[in-house]
Symmetry: C2
Subunit: 114 residues, 2 copies
DNA sequence: CGATATACCTCGCCTGTCAAGGTATATCAG
DNA sequence: CTGATATACCTTGACAGGCGAGGTATATCG
């Protein structure tokens, strides 16, 4: 099962930052690791991924540099900044909070008496 | 803390259907109950709510009818259809699945060895 | 030599959110 | 009686993120 793009939206930035918080990486690798971790459930389309990189770099959350591969295609590496780490912290908190809310709202047993 | 609109997106339909699965209701009441349940964390803006009703009704997931209030402003009630109940089942499943994936991806302790 | 994997990128469409604006009824304080 | 607030509905247009479709280049393997 693949996840609707409307659900992906809003998590893209956090997911990328979370990956980069582990280690510097590049587009292709990040994409593969996301697929691997989720067993192909969650997939960022390339266009989505690269627009996200532009957005995050412009916002100062990541910086990029070219790798010096001696063979194969060139890679553009990304590195998370302090400001990016802080953003990530806040996105994780938002995720926990929204998860709780959505769980309540989607739960069939939950009820109000208003 | 309020939740970013990019996270709301993708859950709006499911949340509305979940509310209507309990009982027929109308826009204003649904909105208030969402706020109450989540302690004002999750808030659908009116414009968003009413666009969602149009969308869901056009898709055949809900039907509407005017209430016969003897006093106060008129209310348009919504009722979930069989097709809507089926959609809700599938949205709940998608939520569980995406929650698991995003949890893994946002988790700081999780790692790959690729 | 053609297919496949790695690796990058952009353009333009589509869709859902929402600020801003509007309508109408009822209640309550001053 | 007047103004504020709550209830209750609605539309328009701007905006932003996802992504289909298209493109480039290198390396490997049958």
């Amino acid at each position: 099962m693949s996840i609707a793009s409307d659900i992906l939206r809003g998590h893209t930035d956090g997911i990328i930052l979370a990956r980069l918080c582990k280690k510097d990486s590049y587009g292709y690798e990040i994409n593969k690791s996301i697929q691997k971790i989720t067993g192909n459930t969650y997939e960022l389309k390339e266009a989505t991924l690269y627009t996200a990189f532009r957005r995050l770099e412009e916002a100062g959350y990541i910086v990029s540099y070219w790798g010096n591969e001696l063979t194969g295609a060139r890679r553009r590496y990304y590195s998370i900044t302090d400001s990016g780490r802080e953003m990530l912290r806040s996105l994780r908190a938002e995720w926990e909070e929204s998860k709780r809310s959505i769980d309540k709202l989607m739960d069939e047993s939950f009820d109000t008496d208003n």
